[in-house]
Symmetry: C2
Subunit: 320 residues, 2 copies
Amino acid sequence: MIKDTWINFVHDLQDRICTALEKADGKAVFIEDAWERAEGGGGKTRIIANGNAIEKGGVNTSIVFGDVTDAMRTQLKIDGAKWFACGLSLVIHPLNPFVPTVHANYRMFELYNEHDEVIDRWFGGGTDLTPYYLFEEDAKHFHQTYKNACDTFDISFYPKFKATCDNYFVNFHRNNERRGIGGIFYDYQRPDENKDVDFWINFAKRCGDSFIEAYLPIVEKRKNAPYTDKNKHWQEIRRGRYVEFNLVHDRGTLFGLKTNGRIESILMSLPPTVRFEYNYQPEKGSEEDKLLQACLHPIDWLNLVTEEEKAEWARKSNSC
Amino acid sequence: MIKDTWINFVHDLQDRICTALEKADGKAVFIEDAWERAEGGGGKTRIIANGNAIEKGGVNTSIVFGDVTDAMRTQLKIDGAKWFACGLSLVIHPLNPFVPTVHANYRMFELYNEHDEVIDRWFGGGTDLTPYYLFEEDAKHFHQTYKNACDTFDISFYPKFKATCDNYFVNFHRNNERRGIGGIFYDYQRPDENKDVDFWINFAKRCGDSFIEAYLPIVEKRKNAPYTDKNKHWQEIRRGRYVEFNLVHDRGTLFGLKTNGRIESILMSLPPTVRFEYNYQPEKGSEEDKLLQACLHPIDWLNLVTEEEKAEWARKSNSC
């Protein structure tokens, strides 16, 4: 029952987001690859490429389940007899370097004992932005949209989930440089007497709905902006950092690789064209450097938190 | 004393290889970045880029040491009080897709107890080839050169180290597809009464010397071959697999990240331009597919092993 509600939400969200993205692109359409997983379950991978606005992207859903394996026990610290996971995961890599890359993921995980009874259940999700050039108005619009979504449910959510996001998408091997300018991210949220299963499903729905409102206006505003080879070069350099984060640090990618996930669906997140140059450094004070600094030192875009909360963020940022 | 011998060898090899590569390139020269590591030691990173033949490459040496940390104990399974490592590591990414990428690494590791006594010492190394198109004569020449080097020391080495190489550079998440067509690789070789420290240093010297003989004639033969956009596209797709192996599976990269290594020197191995396309498959029977098949099913290039040894290789290949 809970599973069905969640599965229906995830598939409906996939449809709505694909429709909105195709409309914004105006040329490319999604191609669907439905796949099955030998150990149980499968998914619907939807890929778009070589569009007017989108160079490469995927909006995927999957419903996967199976026995808890030794690899999951030791490497993912999951304890139980069987597991179930269902979620939506999307990554959009735009062609124009002034349009940011976006990633979103909303998922539910269940764990069962040997009698198939649910012994644990948690929700996770979030949406985060990876620009190549920093437009303050875009960053504020994106964060404000998710703050509005969060505030309807719990006013503590936005500052907390914003900090979680800033502290998760981190290239720890690059002096704690963030992948982008964040958004919100929450994980291991277990229903309790105050916030039940419906609460978390409704929260994910609201966040899912907010994707179109948060991202599409930025695409519309920037997709036709003229750009130079230098701008494209910088985008490809930054895409390299995206690859580094996803392959070295991302828990979702690791989970996919350890659970014999469908590799092409997991790695659809990688950008279309990428550059790795030795010790590339943008010129101090340039537009490229401005973006880099925002990745090194996360910004409180909405300027709404107290000094106490800021100190807490700084502490968390330094501890990662 | 042993350390000095090894350090001198490594630096001399670095000089000789850089000279030979510059000569083959005919345009670009190596730039040296000397660096120090806060916890102890440092290195000489030499980078070459945008040459006639070499699009990006590095020939690095490093001498690093320090206390064994908790991360090393748990994640690298290293037990002792202090450690020392010195080695040469090189990766050359050619411009022309008909010239293969090459990687080599020769290193010595020492472990000490609290009284600074050596409690363990091992040698590791190897050289392997990652072509984008398969030329049987190149593959045979490359493997034959290392077989000749190995045979001078122990005729069991080439088949053993060839198999170790085939079973190490594997994208396990890609149906055990190899990064390339191998070469030799050995690790954790500890001196004993039969093969002492000098033996392993001399073996590394011979293998190091063989690099120029094994690789440079292939560069000379192919560097001016005409190629199409399609050839370059395929090279960039395959470079994506190189990135996947290095960031997801490579122990050397992991060691560097866990020991606070110099990140730009570690990641100099990444190719200059890379493409990731969803579910890209070369046409069956094409030249691109021929290369892919050789990566999926390692070839006994020198056709010198017995049926028994072949069965052993097949067993090892299937178990990874």
